[in-house]
């Protein structure tokens, strides 16, 4: 498969009061056209940062190193503005504050169809069609309403409709079910899968729900403290996950299906700049793990693990 998106040794450092925080460390990732990738990790792992880097939407002052290659082109700051919304889109993490409170849904959605001169009726029809696609109840009432009049689930569907309005080839969804109740969660996830599959779009689903990733994606990448620790075909994750962090997640997660159990949510120790990021918590840690970061080691079937026990 040809790569739609390739991330090459991507590092991001935030600077807070003169203190450097490495949020991403040499991340390598590959996404084929039409592939659906789940990006899983506890909060603070750097998932949102990764999405921000791909979209060119990191806060000012963040240092970015490495390459992001999209459709064969190395992206520079000038490219992002042209690609956003058209070629790649980010369904944002915070449902509750991601729609502009003083503009109606219709005003915000119409701004996404600016190319060319489209007659008003056609715009309205396109908008309604999109709102129907995301299965909003009473779609014709939505354009005239304001964000504060919609429930969280409705907002999420509107955001989805906006993101998909120009059929971008890459969809990044940052915890699209965060803050929704479990019943709504499943509905949104199947909707995302259905829409993305119908258009053959590539998806990066950011979540900390292992089951959601397995259900929706072809491949799952597990992240811990700014580094990828394992990349595994989704169908093999539940049975063949190898990294100690993955195994800790699996041991705790399946019955509950969501959330990060306290055991793997590490203490707020400083990032180990050398060695494996998981070494302070790892039960299988070797002396070598603390000194040198193990490489992402291929173990077959497109499965890669970064672990001193295996490499």
């Amino acid at each position: 498969m040809s790569a739609l998106l390739q991330i090459d040794r991507l590092s991001v450092i935030y600077h807070i009061n003169g203190y450097a925080l490495p949020a991403l460390q040499e991340v390598d990732l590959h996404l084929a056209a039409g592939e659906k990738l789940g990006l899983v990790g506890e909060s603070g792992a750097g998932k949102t940062t990764l999405a921000g880097a791909v979209m060119g939407l990191l806060p000012r002052g963040a240092t970015v190193k490495g390459k992001i290659i999209f459709k064969g082109k190395i992206l520079s700051p000038a490219h992002f503005a042209r690609l956003r919304g058209r070629e790649m889109v980010l369904i944002p993490q915070n449902v509750y504050n991601s729609l502009n409170p003083v503009l109606s849904i219709g005003q915000q959605m119409e701004d996404l169809q600016i190319e060319g001169k489209i007659p008003r009726e056609k715009r309205q029809a396109t908008m309604l069609n999109l709102l129907q696609k995301v299965r909003l109840p009473r779609p014709q009432a939505v354009p005239g309403s304001y964000p504060h009049q919609l429930s969280g689930g409705m907002k999420q569907r509107v955001l989805l409709a906006m993101g998909l309005s120009r059929s971008p080839s890459l969809v990044l969804a940052d915890e699209p079910t965060k803050g929704l109740d479990p019943v709504r969660r499943m509905g949104i996830l199947s909707l995302v899968r259905e829409l993305v599959d119908r258009n053959g779009q590539s998806l990066v689903l950011i979540t900390h729900d292992l089951n959601a990733a397995v259900y929706l994606c072809d491949t799952v990448a597990l992240m811990y403290r700014g580094q990828l620790v394992e990349i595994i075909p989704a169908s093999r994750l539940l049975t063949a996950g190898l990294h100690p962090y993955t195994r800790a997640l699996l041991a705790a997660a399946p019955e509950r299906g969501l959330g990060i159990p306290a055991r793997v949510d590490g203490p707020p120790s400083p990032f180990p700049l050398h060695g494996c990021p998981y070494s302070p918590l790892c039960e299988l840690c070797l002396p070598a793990c603390r000194k040198e970061k193990p490489p992402l080691f291929p173990v077959g079937h497109g499965h890669l693990v970064r672990c001193g026990q295996i490499a």
């Binding site: 919304g85 944002p92 729609l99 003083v102 996404l112 955001l159």
Partner: protein, 313 residues
């Protein structure tokens, strides 16, 4: 929408009635016997007790306060604000002849303020922590801190006495308008610029701007459509409050620059103990204040749909 407006209108109405009552009571706050003042004005300085008593009965000063208020309100509703004790002209006539000058001054102050403050606040926020931002903030701080009367004299010294390009005082033409407008509007300019900067920086952090960018909305639209409308919400409130301050500021500024407006009429009325004039001016200024507030509330509702649709407290 309806209930919000209805509530604001109701509050405005109650304020109006309150204002008339307080204005009416001003007669009794002026030292001296109102009947005697009116008699003096009518019959000259050497009035005897007979004349005073005559006026007291004729004007109803001997009656209970609620009765007097009722009578005064009756006159007010038929647009009769009484006559000046000094020159016997109808107060309404005097106010009508002075009001345009004050409105002109207030409006041009507001205009100058906004024309300076909005771009300054915007640029300061966009160029945060550059020399431009520092300069704008320093200017805003000075604007807020310098009292209008002091600035008036500085302006007069600089533009009239040194450069000799603007007249010291007077009314008529653009040249006479410049200095009083600047002096009156500077405080508001500083405040609005500072507030817009802070408010825009706050809005700049919001997720909805990041989300709009992620959907490919261009930077120009992000600023003028997505950010500014949100950032203006607190600014509009302050502009409304400041407009009231502006009106009261005219009293001092008009007297410094010999600007024949309501403020000058009011101050003359106070010095002459001409209470019908004082009452009339205070009433008109208060009514303007209330009307401005209603207008701000309307504008506010247009800006912020969360208010427009709210039904409860």
């Amino acid at each position: 929408m309806g209930s919000y407006l209805l509530r604001r209108m109701l509050i405005a109405l109650v304020s109006l009635v309150g204002v008339t009552f307080i204005t009416f009571l001003l007669i009794f706050l002026v030292p001296g016997d109102p009947a005697e003042m009116v008699a003096e004005a009518r019959f000259g300085h050497a009035v005897g007790d007979r004349e005073v008593e005559l006026v007291r009965v004729m004007e109803g000063f001997d009656q209970a306060i609620p009765t007097q208020y009722w009578r005064w309100m009756g006159h007010l509703l038929s647009l009769d604000l009484g006559h000046s004790l000094i020159n016997r002209k109808p107060v309404l006539e005097l106010i009508r002849s002075r009001l345009p000058a004050t409105l002109l001054l207030a409006f041009s102050s507001l205009l100058i303020s906004l024309v300076i403050a909005l771009p300054a606040g915007l640029l300061a926020a966009l160029r945060k922590d550059t020399w431009l931002d520092t300069f704008a903030r320093l200017f805003a701080l000075l604007g807020v801190s310098i009292p209008g009367f002091w600035l008036s004299y500085l302006l007069i010294i600089f533009f009239s006495l040194q450069l000799k390009i603007l007249p010291v005082s007077g009314y008529g033409g653009l040249k006479t308008l410049v200095m009083p407008s600047l002096a009156l509007g500077l405080g508001m300019t500083g405040l609005v610029a500072r507030l817009l900067r802070a408010s825009l920086l706050e809005v700049w952090q919001q997720d909805y701007l990041r989300a709009a960018r992620a959907n490919g909305i261009g930077e120009r639209k992000i600023l003028f459509k997505y950010a500014l409308k949100n950032a203006m919400i607190p600014v509009v409130t302050v502009i409304g409050l400041q407009l009231g301050m502006l009106l009261s500021g005219t009293v001092i500024i008009e007297n410094i620059f010999g600007w024949p407006g309501l403020g000058m009429l009011l101050l003359d009325g106070i010095f002459n103990r001409d209470f019908p004039i004082v009452q009339g001016c205070v009433l008109v200024i208060a009514v303007c204040f209330i009307l401005i507030n209603v207008a701000v509330d309307l504008f506010y509702a247009w800006l912020d749909p969360r208010i427009r649709w709210s039904t409860g407290g």
